[in-house]
Amino acid sequence: MAAEGLPCEFDVVILGTGLVESVVAAACSRVGQRVLHLDRRSYYAANWASFTFNGLLDWIQRRQEPPPQPDELQDWSSLLEEGEELIYLCNADSSSVSNVQVFSFTREEEESVSPPSTTEEEEAAAAAEVEEAEEETTQSTDIKEKESKEETFNEEDDGQAAGVDGEEHEAPPPDNQSRKKVSYSELLDKGRRFNIDLVSKLMFSRGSLIDLLIKSNVSRYAEFKNVSRILTCRHGNVEQVPCSRADVFGSRQLSVVEKRKLMRFLTSVVEETEQQTAYSGRPYLDFLCEQQLGDNLQHFLLHSIAMVTEDTPTEEGLASTRHFLRCLGRYGNTPFLFPVYGLGEIPQCFCRMSAVFGGIYCLRHTVHCLLLDKSNNRCKAVIDSRGQRISCSHFVVEEGYVATERKKVVTPTRSISRAVLITDASVLPAHSDQQVSLVTVPPVAAGAPVVKMVELCSSTMTCIPGTYLVHLTCQSVGSAYEDLSPVVTRMFNTPESHDQETCPSVLWCLYFNMVDGSGVQVQGHDLPPNVYVCSGPDGGLGHEHAVTQAESIFRNILPDEEFCPPAPNPEDIIYDGDSAPSTGEEEKQGEEKGEEEAGQSERGEGTGVEEVGQSESGEE
């Protein structure tokens, strides 16, 4: 570990590397603030992180361990000076994730391909019900874990060990079936090629995050893919939602009359009409019914285009429909983009921007307490995990580090239910197996949540070839398992599903709940006014909440500065040639100005296809 000490004076100290904190870090460094950015964890992006398969197993394991002893509050009062008071922080990570459950349905290589036995099925079901699930590492490694159950953890080890035994047979066994079966050991062996996000969101192509990435030039650190299609689940079938003009006309499922109706509706909805205002306050569904579009179209428009529920008011439904349409055609056939290597890249990209502008980064390092200046009630310094006093003018902190009793949270706390599946086929096979799909799943039963599902193919670099990574998300009604397993059972082949041999098989899945960050405000907590609280991920599909919050924190800190002005392009930096000579240390890190032979493209890394953005006019 770094023996080197940290500098002891900064303008802004930031604790936590989630999206909001990282954007604030980049924004502050960019305009010349001295930023120290810390995270207690060993990885970037907090609850926005993505993990390799093995990394995710570690993460799961840590959720299962008993919560770390609140480090005996070390007494730092010796560091206090006259007129100062301590405010202790707490460990992040403690409470934001709950109900972690893991199931593995992979087969041992040796095993012949046979349908899962009833015992396994029962075991899986039983495991889900009973908290004290016994170890069942017979054929499928069947793991059920609850937070704070230590023994269950060994169970998982057994499961892994069982998988590793088969390691020798790395090459897939001869196919008796059309689909190749991926074994657990293969998941482990190639685990580093997975990038599994804790959060599942998409980027609206005209959303605030894409705008910010482009505006700040942070976008050059990442590559993106179009979400290639929007699907929906209707009457138990998965169908493609036609949303662009090309889709509508190319659709085989729509009749000519429907095509015309849909086009007319999409064109008309852009302008506000009297008819629309007349429906203000009444459900959007009523408005859609009035248009006599038919069940088919109504379903698409409500669930997949507006992405609202049956009782959403018309004005809200129209607003989301318009947002959807505005985002269409900027980059591709759908309004959404997804970053290659997963969403966890995005906070890292902002952190790099901060570092490039002098921000200092230190993981596995935290702040134990704040020093309050009693004369003006401001936080004047922090004490880090090594007992070093670091002065700062502003302190930005991830919500999880703020002690509960100091936090004001909207109650009741909302939470997000998440499921992550590794499957062996797409929910809707198409001519290309490299599709990125958003699947909207209306409630499976009255009172059940609306589920959003994102299916990622291997070229997004989030899973290995031959598999798909499927993220399910909804606002929690019950536990993640209760909310999402009915959808999983219905749309996939698991030991619990019946007669679904044709559906994609689930190889491995994870359920968990995460606190919905939308209930946390930047200020208004029992904290000094120059301390800003950043929320974790919210349940929305886009990133508007996080970006808005980051910008508002920045405006509080630096009201007169521009938020994330573009970083210069490498080729545009003029080298002035007279940086101050001084002490001869040959190198400090950081990057030097670059003068570059002119006339080359201004792009950043990568070999990807150049920007597609000019196809503005294409749609609707």
Partner: protein, 194 residues
Amino acid sequence: MAIRELKVCLLGDTGVGKSSIVCRFVQDRFDHNISPTIGASFLTKTVPCGNELHKFLIWDTAGQERFHSLAPMYYRGSAAAVIVYDITKLDSFQTLKKWVKELKEHGPEDIVVAIAGNKNDLGDIREVPMKEAKEFAESIAAIFIETSARHAVNIEELFQKISKQIPPLENPEVDSNESFQLSRQPASSSRRCC
């Protein structure tokens, strides 16, 4: 001639001369005091190689290595990595293994690795024998070269060697949904569709 963009990431302990090597390669200059806060995301230089042009996009650690906090995104899509040590500091050579391991963990699988023993103008206070370093490089099938950013020794050669090791461009599979970069473009915000 076709231009191929190749991302190269630099690794190595703080102070071994990573930035100086890039600075020498790209601008052919040497600075005793490189300011960390200039804000270049990466530097680029294009060199011919066979019938291709290789445009190196050279990423510096931006100091994130200092407290062992390099982000995995730093390695994404790199065609090559240059691990730098200082021939006058044994420590910096001993940590090479750690960087190699880190690269194995986070770097692309087919990455070209080069090991550069920098500051070879300071041979009189050398702590790392060239033979030992060379053997280590061979053991991991890495390129090995000693350089001096200060005296412009072997800097061009380092990148030439990398160029030669870059596998020829395969015919990219036709993927209708290829990844791309976003870039600023004047028209983007000017009008909406419909």
